[in-house]
């Protein structure tokens, strides 16, 4: 990674870097050793605590069904929230007041309520006004809660992404006679997708993690909920948290890796079609404003 922020390291800086790295890794090794000793001292490394994870029962009874529910809820929420978010984001930029204002109200409202409570209300809604069966209801409620919240965050991401494009794009589109809808679908959206992608991916990771809220009150048997059942059985709370934490990391890293691969494809294909937005322009526009959700994760680094 070459940066405009500093000079390329010279011989002295290189030596210093190596020295720093060595010191750091020695300290890290000492620290890990201490962690290991302390955990051993507290009896957390006893094989009986970890052994369950080598049995197939622990996986087939608790973890895999939990993971399955987590994935199902997350996938459904993503698939529904993305288009809905794009819709609200675009609606918020409408020229018509009666479209813009309600869309803004919806977005701001659902962004400010904790997702857990949204799920609770969604659950109650399904009970009172629909015939969704009791087995399916937690999933429906969890997905609804996630969609309402994340669609409104995604709406902000989309809006910021489109606003970040140079004004000339819209003007040129109008000049060649495109209508507003055409300008949006064939000029603005395709260009802003690459800018938005890192922020969108962050939000997708948030969706995966937030499925865990479904287990708190609704009894949705996602991964973290399955963990508590597992830990009650094997009496290995700390170990189970560590294992489940690792599963989440792997899952989300897979998601972000896939997304950055997709982003790379999009960027490259854009270049090959001779798109007018050169790389300098792309950095000149304002990806920061795109961070509608959580911070944007640069696709290159994930």
């Amino acid at each position: 990674m070459t940066s405009v922020l500093y000079d390329a390291p010279g011989p002295r800086a290189k030596r210093r870097n190596v020295l720093l790295s060595v010191v750091f890794f020695v300290l890290l090794a000492l620290f890990l050793w201490w962690v290991w000793l302390t955990m051993d001292d507290k009896g957390q490394l006893k094989w009986a605590l970890w052994q369950p994870f080598t049995t197939s029962d622990a996986w087939t009874t608790y973890l895999l069904p939990g993971l399955g529910d987590t994935l199902k809820a997350a996938a459904l929420a993503m698939v529904i929230a993305l288009p809905l978010g794009a819709f609200f984001g675009i609606a918020r930029m409408s020229d018509h007041r009666w479209v813009r204002v309600p869309a803004g109200v919806v977005v701001e409202f659902f962004r400010s309520i904790p997702v857990l409570l949204l799920m609770l209300f969604a659950n109650e809604f399904y009970v009172r006004s629909t015939g969704v069966g009791s087995e399916e209801r937690p999933l429906y409620a969890v997905v609804t809660g996630l969609v309402l919240y994340n669609a409104s965050v995604l709406a902000e991401i989309v809006r910021a992404g489109i606003l970040s494009l140079p004004k000339g794009q819209t003007e040129a589109a109008h000049a060649i006679g495109l209508r507003k809808g055409q300008t949006m679908t064939s000029i603005l959206l395709p260009q802003s997708v690459t800018v938005m992608l890192p922020a969108i991916v962050s939000q997708l990771v948030v969706i995966v993690k937030d499925t865990a809220l479904g287990g708190v009150m609704l009894g949705f048997t996602e991964l973290l909920n399955a963990r508590s059942t597992l830990a009650a059985n094997y009496a290995n709370v700390v170990a189970s948290f560590i294992v489940v934490g690792i599963i989440y990391i792997v899952l989300n890293l897979a998601l972000t890796t896939f997304a950055s691969w997709l982003e790379g494809r999009l960027r490259r294909s854009k270049k090959s079609t001779g798109a007018t937005v050169a790389l300098e322009d792309a950095t000149g526009i304002n990806p920061a404003q795109v961070g509608g959700g959580f911070g944007t994760g640069g696709g290159d680094s994930i």
């Binding site: 369950p52 009874t61 009791s134 209801r137 508590s228 059942t229 059985n233 494809r265 490259r268 294909s269």
Partner: protein, 280 residues
């Protein structure tokens, strides 16, 4: 061109995943509607409380609540194979009954006045007390010993509130999200005692992993009358369950279930409570 290819790929993936999940859920619907055709009964229990309601590694369920529920269901005319166990978290119990998600709930469900406004109770089938679980060599013997000691309970639970308000306001109370976490803290020495209903504590202490490590202090800090929750107004079911519970006690099955589930913890259970006899 390439952009289009990616788009096509992404759309296909989305459609496929939608289709897959749609299929998945409709499959489940089928089996659901098929099973509810009179031959199955849904019962709400806890899934994560050893000794009371626990989902075991082989996928079966065990515990005192489970045994009671199985017996009652048997008296109502359902074989064990016809029972579908549903996890009912504490916060969701009243709603699950009101919605008709489950026929009845046996999930450490203490009868109290607020709850009685929302649901009807059969039983009680067990009289539990708030108690302390301490290490085998602990010197804590009475409630006042707790002042200044470290204590763990579950966030927002009645037991935690009791400690705060009356039993030992000066105790250093820590609230965790689950009993497993509290037990872990007790094991690591971070707390001196865990408090909640003695039945729940006995269930943990009786687990293989903890055998011989903990003991119950045997204090009767409160009275918790475990009842079987039934939808408000369904008095026919309440009557049937009460009859079943009486039979369970008189036939000795009740005693067997208590010994089986709490026995290893040296738990001195109260005699089987009389139906409708709520100890304040």
């Amino acid at each position: 061109m390439k952009l289009r290819k990616v788009t096509v790929f992404a759309t296909t993936a989305l459609v496929l995943s939608l289709a897959a999940t749609a299929c998945g859920s409709s499959d489940k619907d089928d089996s659901g509607s098929g099973s509810s055709g009179g031959s199955k009964i849904k019962i709400g229990i806890k899934f994560d409380q050893p000794g009371l309601g626990l989902k075991q590694p082989d996928g079966t369920y065990a515990g005192f609540d489970v045994d009671v529920a199985t017996y009652v269901a048997g008296q109502l005319g359902y074989k064990p194979a016809q029972i579908e166990w549903v996890e009912t978290k504490s916060a969701d119990r009243e709603n699950a009954l009101a919605r008709g998600d489950v026929k009845f709930i046996a999930a450490t469900y203490s009868i109290n006045d607020e709850r009685k406004k929302k649901v009807d109770f059969a039983g009680p089938y067990l009289l539990a007390h708030q108690d302390l679980l301490v290490k085998k060599d602990s010197t804590i013997a009475k409630a006042t010993d707790l002042n200044g000691k470290n204590l763990c309970s579950v966030t927002g639970s009645t037991s935690a509130q009791n400690i705060h308000d009356t039993i030992a306001p000066k105790a250093n109370l820590r609230e965790n999200s689950g009993y497993s976490e509290c037990i872990a803290a007790l094991q690591s020495g971070a707390v001196d005692a865990v408090t909640t209903d003695d039945s729940i504590l006995a269930g943990f202490a009786a687990q293989d992993k903890f055998k011989g490590q903990f003991k119950l202090a045997g204090l009767k800090l409160s009275n918790e009358n475990y009842g079987i929750g039934v939808k408000k107004g369904d008095s026919a079911t309440v009557t049937k369950i009460n009859t079943a519970l009486e039979k369970m006690v008189s036939s000795g099955a009740w005693k067997t279930a208590v010994t089986k589930n709490f026995g290893p913890a040296d738990y001195k259970n109260e005699p089987a409570p009389k139906i409708g006899d709520i100890v304040k």
